[in-house]
C-alpha cells in the first residue's frame, strides 16, 4: 500500500503521468473558464463580481489543503524519520504559497466592490494572512538554512505549528463577526449555492488541483535529483 510513497515509484509515476495530466488540465481549464466567465449567471446582489469566486475559492481551498498535507508530512518526517515526506512537503510549499497569495489578492479585489474596502482585520482575512506568512517562513527557511538536516528539522516544526491555523481559518467566520460570508459549501451539509454556480466552481477547483499536481511532480523530481546530487 505504501509502495507509492517510495521515491523511485513516485519518480516513475511523475515521468509517465505529466503529459496526460497536462491534457486533462487544458480541457478542464477551457470548460471551467467558459462556464465561469460566460455561462454562469450573475449574482442578484454582487452582480458580475461573483465571477471572482471561481478563482478565489478554489485557490483558498488548495492553499489550505496543501498546508494540511505539509503539516501531516512534517509530523511523519519528524516522528518517524522518513525523509521522503519532508521532500513532499518541500515540493508542495511554493505551490501553496502561490495559491494563498492568489486567494488574498483576488479576495481583496472582490472585497472592494462588495464591501467597499480592500482589506479588513477580521478573523478570516487575518488568519489567511497568517497562512501566507507561514508559507513564506517555511519556504524561506528551506532556502536560508544550508545544513539539510537542520533545515528539515526546523521546517518540520514550522509545518506542525502552522497546522493550528487551519481550524482557525475554517471556523473564523463562525467564531467571530466577520465581513467575510460563511462557507456556502461544506462537507457535512448540502451546498447553499445554485448548481449553475456550483458546477464552474468545482470544475475550476478540479482544474487547479490538476495544475498543482503537475507542478508538484516537476518540483518533486527536482528535489529528488537535487538530493541525489548533493549527497554525492
Amino acid at each position: 500500500m505504501f509502495g507509492i510513497f517510495k521515491p523511485r515509484t513516485f519518480f516513475n509515476l511523475a515521468n509517465n503521468s505529466i503529459f496526460w495530466l497536462k491534457i486533462i488540465f487544458a480541457f478542464t481549464l477551457v470548460v471551467g473558464l467558459v462556464l465561469a466567465l460566460v455561462l454562469s449567471p450573475i449574482d442578484y446582489l454582487q452582480k458580475d463580481t461573483v465571477r471572482i469566486m471561481y478563482v478565489h475559492v478554489p485557490s483558498s481551498w488548495i492553499a489550505l489543503f496543501i498546508f494540511l498535507i505539509i503539516g501531516v508530512s512534517s509530523f511523519i518526517s519528524l516522528i518517524f524519520k522518513i525523509k521522503v515526506f519532508s521532500i513532499y512537503a518541500k515540493s508542495l510549499a511554493p505551490i501553496g504559497l502561490v495559491f494563498s497569495l492568489i486567494s488574498i489578492v483576488t479576495g481583496s479585489l472582490w472585497g472592494y466592490p462588495t464591501w467597499g474596502t480592500f482589506w479588513s482585520w477580521d478573523g478570516r482575512l487575518t488568519s489567511m494572512l497568517v497562512l501566507v506568512l507561514s508559507y513564506v517562513l517555511y519556504v524561506s527557511l528551506w532556502s536560508l538554512i544550508k545544513n539539510y538536516n537542520l533545515a528539515e528539522k526546523i521546517t518540520n516544526i514550522v509545518g506542525i505549528v502552522g497546522l493550528i491555523n487551519i481550524p482557525i481559518i475554517k471556523f473564523s467566520v463562525v467564531w467571530w463577526n466577520t465581513l467575510h460570508q460563511p462557507a456556502s459549501i461544506t462537507l457535512t451539509a448540502a451546498p447553499t449555492i445554485h448548481s449553475s454556480m456550483l458546477a464552474p466552481l468545482l470544475i475550476m477547483f478540479f482544474c487547479f488541483c490538476i495544475l498543482s499536481l503537475i507542478i508538484f511532480l516537476i518540483r518533486y523530481k527536482y528535489e529528488i535529483i537535487n538530493f541525489r546530487v548533493n549527497k554525492k
Partner: protein
C-alpha cells in the same frame, strides 16, 4: 455584446485583474519549476559525465 463581456457590468477591472493575477502567478510558478528541474538535470548530467571520464582515466592508469 463583446463590450458587455469585457466591461462585466462595470466590474471588469476587478474581475480581469483577479484572473490576470492568478494566471501570471501560476505561469511564473510553472516556468520557474521547469527551469529549476532543467538546471538540476544539466548539473546531474555534467556530474555523471565527469564521473565516467574519471573512471575511464583511472582504468587507463591501471592498465599502465
Amino acid at each position: 455584446m463583446i463590450l458587455e463581456f469585457f466591461t462585466m457590468g462595470g466590474y471588469g477591472f476587478y474581475i480581469w485583474l483577479s484572473y490576470a493575477f492568478a494566471t501570471l502567478s501560476l505561469i511564473f510558478l510553472y516556468y520557474r519549476s521547469v527551469k529549476k528541474l532543467n538546471s538540476i538535470k544539466r548539473i546531474e548530467y555534467i556530474y555523471q559525465s565527469e564521473k565516467a571520464e574519471s573512471l575511464s582515466i583511472s582504468a587507463q592508469v591501471n592498465r599502465f
